[in-house]
Amino acid sequence: MEKLNFNEQDLLTEVGTIGTGHAATAMADILGQKITITVPNVELVSFNRVAEYIGASGSNLACIYFDVLGDLPGTVLVMFTENSARRLLNTFMPDEPLIFLELSQLQQSALMEMGNILSGAYLTALADFSNQRMSLSVPRLAVDMAEAMLSVPLIKLGSETDRALLIQARFFEESSNRGYIVFFPNQGATTRLLEIFGVGSDG
């Protein structure tokens, strides 16, 4: 696949919107505050431009990695900038000292749990909407350079393609506190998603 046509883009944006809407609600419930979340961007992006496209190049992020298993396999990354991670962790454990690059076990667990809730809500919505079976692996956390962590899902796609389909949304858009949720469907899953909704590649 070289490029998405208008119908494909439209459909995948809709799929992403349903997922992120649920994720935002889940997060707002936990934090007790309103969460803004962007309409997802859906794009096929060359590997070397992924970090830039997401808006994360050159930054250090906390990243929670999930394998997506089932009918639409792929990877989900939930990523927090330092400020947004601080905001989240301060809500749960205001008294715990926080060094972003050396998070405590408890802080790591809290971020992974937040990732679980967000990605779980996101994928449940997507699975229900598409009537497909999907499940998530256990979360894995790293705090490091955005590009280095983004390389992991890209390597998974690497033997098949030079471009990744990204379905990504940002939350906390109102300030420098930014979070990202990105779904990288595998090649086969992308084709299947488009087929399920009757959007042909020539449509």
Partner: protein
């Protein structure tokens, strides 16, 4: 002065006083080749160990084809094949591994593939900063072949 930034699955070669950079290598491997006499250097940010038929034509994506391509490009800039040395950096495991699945050890496979292919070609690996659990940003100074390596907490050169 040639000052070039490469991304994932890209490579570049330059003469002194050129600088070649790559940001945030995770499990990918940075392969650096250098001819200290001609002062010609190259860097590849390779993602996967081996090119196979049907895997597209991006030679920089695979360790073996990236090395072969850099050698050709460096020779075109005046490097002598017998003078070339190699340095390796990258091949980290970014996320902790609970079940030893193959994706999580792709970094190790990339390191092994680079060792093997450079060995076959008889190119000595003079320095390495590989493995671990941190991303690395690389900068090659083609004036003397020094490779500067930054992680989120450390800086070193090899």
């Amino acid at each position: 002065m040639d000052n070039y930034q490469i991304g994932m699955a890209q490579l570049y070669v330059a003469k002194s006083p050129g600088i070649i950079r790559s940001t945030g290598l995770g499990s990918c491997i940075g392969i650096i080749l250098y001819d200290p006499f001609a002062k010609v250097g190259g860097m590849a940010h390779a993602m996967l160990p081996k090119h196979r038929p049907g895997r597209g034509d991006n030679k920089a994506k695979y360790v073996d084809t990236a090395i072969n391509t850099m050698l050709e490009d460096m020779e075109a800039l005046g490097a002598g094949p017998m003078n070339i040395i190699a340095k390796l950096a990258g091949g980290a495991q970014m996320f902790p591994d609970s079940d030893k699945d193959s994706l999580m050890i792709i970094g190790e496979k990339n390191i092994a593939a680079a060792d093997e292919h450079l060995g076959t070609l008889g190119i000595p690996i003079v320095a390495k900063d590989v493995g671990g659990h941190s991303g690395r940003t690389l900068e090659l100074d083609c004036r003397d072949g020094t490779l500067y390596i930054k992680t989120v907490t450390t800086e070193t050169k090899i």
